[in-house]
């Protein structure tokens, strides 16, 4: 009898210790952040910055002991900004690692991977896309974007215009791509709602060079403000130079991907005064308290792009979601992490965004208007932080 009891006691002790050891091993398991990153191809200029931003933030977290003692491990793959290569990278990374967080490189990939993401239910995803379609928590329950969607970006610009010059004449110039057409419908509605006057819409091929006929059309419409969307650089410099040569007084504006300091400076001196919406503080922005920017400036004495900030902030918000999930004692799955992310209210990003942020849905509809000063070679703020209602 005693021997049977002893046997049972030893067995249960052994089982408990194995389980304890296993759970302790699990507790120490790395949290993996996978990434389909465009390090080559047309979007490499941003991908390289995003990659560096993610790496730097994870290093800061890991150097400080990780999240609840667990290190964050970054596993990137180059995609060349191609959807099939991004999917291959996703499959490769997720089949070799237990991935909890993922960075996606494009709208196309974010849409394509969504059924897979929901099927596995294991990950929280963000990425480089600000596509309006992704800003739908019902359709994309495990994704979010680190900033306003493209429609919200144009909405922020229009809000600024409506305040600066009520009833202003507005023109929209956009590329004939999914990226370019994304906010147009919403822009038309907002223009009407804000009492502005849409005088013309111009569609061009992406990266087109000869825009002389479009500039003449723009001059005929004589807008007070001209908003570009769906471009990185070309044909914005051609528009700006030719319009200035024709004596036009319109103020040119852009959205996130054409608003990096280096991109605007490439437009040349005639782009002096070029404005646009930026959800983040620029690297050199010392206005207000920004300890995280200070840290970045210490890590890199040279200018870091806004794509870098996007990658950095993506890693920060995903880490915050992980932290909140673990704090609540819940398993790290996509649903829990998304709920944790959506519990973020009045969150201080360390000054990367100059106002506390609240994430209710899939976007962070906040931004500020900056203006190019070609003498200082800098983008300077001309508005306060504008937050749209979600």
């Amino acid at each position: 009898m005693l021997r049977t009891h002893l046997k049972k006691w030893i067995t249960s002790l052994a089982v408990t210790s194995v389980l304890a050891a296993a759970s302790s091993a699990w507790a120490q398991e790395d949290i993996v952040l996978g990434g389909s990153i465009p390090l080559t191809g047309v979007f490499a200029f941003a991908g390289i910055g995003i990659d560096a931003g993610i790496k730097d933030y994870l290093k800061i977290v890991n150097d400080a002991g990780g999240v609840k003692g667990r290190k964050l491990r970054y596993v990137p793959e180059d995609t060349g900004y191609k959807v099939d290569a991004s999917m291959a990278a996703f499959k490769k990374i997720t089949s070799q690692n237990k991935v909890s967080l993922y960075y996606a490189d494009s709208t196309g990939f974010s849409k394509t991977v969504n059924p897979e993401l929901e099927r596995s239910g294991a990950m929280l995803m963000t990425g480089a896309s600000f596509g309006k379609e992704l800003n739908d928590p019902k359709k994309y329950p495990l994704q979010f974007m680190v900033g306003p969607d493209y429609s919200e970006m144009v909405g922020i610009l229009l809000n600024y215009i409506a305040k600066a010059k009520p009833g202003a004449k507005v023109a929209i110039v956009y590329s004939d791509t999914e990226f370019g057409r994304d906010p147009i419908e919403a822009a038309r509605t907002s223009i009407k709602k804000l009492g502005l006057n849409l005088v013309t819409e111009i569609v061009t091929a992406p990266g087109s060079v000869d825009v002389s006929s479009e500039v003449i059309k723009l001059r005929r419409a004589d807008p007070d403000y001209t908003i570009f969307h769906g471009y990185i650089l070309a044909p914005i410099p051609e528009f700006v130079t030719q319009a200035k040569a024709l004596g036009m007084k319109t103020a040119f504006m852009g959205t996130f991907w054409s608003m990096d300091n280096s991109t605007v400076m490439k437009m040349g001196d005639s782009a002096d005064g070029f404005m646009g919406v930026m959800p983040y503080r620029y690297y050199y922005d010392t206005d207000g308290k920004s300890p995280m920017l200070e840290k970045i400036r210490q890590l890199h004495p040279e200018y870091q792009s806004t794509a870098y900030t996007q990658g950095f902030l993506s890693a920060m918000l995903m880490t915050e979601a992980v932290k909140r999930t673990l704090d609540a004692g819940k398993p790290l799955d996509g649903k829990n992490m998304k709920a944790a992310l959506n519990s973020i209210a009045n969150f201080d990003t360390g000054g990367l965004i100059g106002t506390p942020i609240t994430i209710k849905g899939n976007s962070i509809p906040v931004g500020r208007i900056y203006k190019a000063d070609m003498k200082q070679k800098k983008m300077l703020p001309v508005s306060d932080w504008i937050t749209l209602e979600q």
């Binding site: 990153i37 390090l39 080559t40 490499a44 390289i48 990659d51 790496k55 990137p76 793959e77 180059d78 060349g80 959807v83 099939d84 290569a85 999917m87 291959a88 499959k91 490769k92 997720t94 089949s95 070799q96 196309g108 849409k111 394509t112 969504n114 059924p115 099927r119 379609e133 004939d176 791509t177 999914e178 057409r181 994304d182």
Partner: protein, 346 residues
Amino acid sequence: MRIGSAKQSYLADQALFDSTPQRAWFGVLLLALVAFPFMANEYWLYLACLVGLNIVSTTGLNLLTGYTGLVSLGQAAFMGLGAYTVAILQVRYGSPFLLNLLAGGIVAMLGGILVGLPSLRVKGLYLAIATIAAGFMTHFLFAHWAGITGGNGGMTVPPARLFGAELDTSFRLYWVIAPIMILMVFGAANLFRTRIGRAFIAIRDRDISAAVLGIPLMPYKLMSFAISSFYAGVAGGLFAYFFRVVTPESFPLLMSIFFLAAVIVGGMGTISGSIFGAIFMTLVPELLKLIVGWLPLGDNATLVLSPVRTIVFGSMIVLFLIFEPHGLAEIWRRIRRLFHLWPFRT
């Protein structure tokens, strides 16, 4: 030692495989294809499916460009037609998977016949430019006929269903893509044992001579476009079920160039060339990634070597064109001859 295939009857001449060893090797290949999904992880299964659908499309283009001599840069457009047809039928009507694929092939085929019409008057580079227009037109159609195609946002396709099973993973899709691929490759191989296939080859070799021999150019050229775009349409349909999203930008001109490169690198005018070309173009970039991953260069290896990898891939294509213009199929043929003739040299 085997020094050739002695054919002593018409039946032997018509057989798809020359010899018993060929049949045995084909059996081994089939067994490997059956065993593969049980051994491969999700990543390799994904790549296998991708290779499968790329083989279907490359074979289609090879029928047109390699066998009939009609250069086309419209393959992505035909794939798009197939993909959208499948997506529309699946989303709106929930019609059966195989019927949708067939419809995708037929709609692409009709598109191919339309786009093939200029081939009656122009050829070579001129025809290539004419077929590029197909890409622009289909893009416009997909992006602006929003009521049907979903416009810029495209369409999300529910998973295919076959005999009640949902084909929502690479593992399950593999069992559909692989047989369709084999069927279509065999279809293409058989085509060249018929009057139609031989007419295509005659047109490719010298169209005027073919016409003098009594081959009517117009129907055969259009037939070649039709069959080729049918293949593209089916590949596009598989694409829709595989990626589950189709958007106007899913089928860019670069995709057509990808398939043309696959035909050239694999070997124009050979069925095995289509297979090798599709495998090369799909897998080599991934293999280069793996090699980069193995190099002990620390965290920044991916960042530093990604552009190098692209250059290596580009250089490999250029080197193939210089040193083996007949493509990978010719290398494969030489390897086979080496074994057949050993210890003698080819």
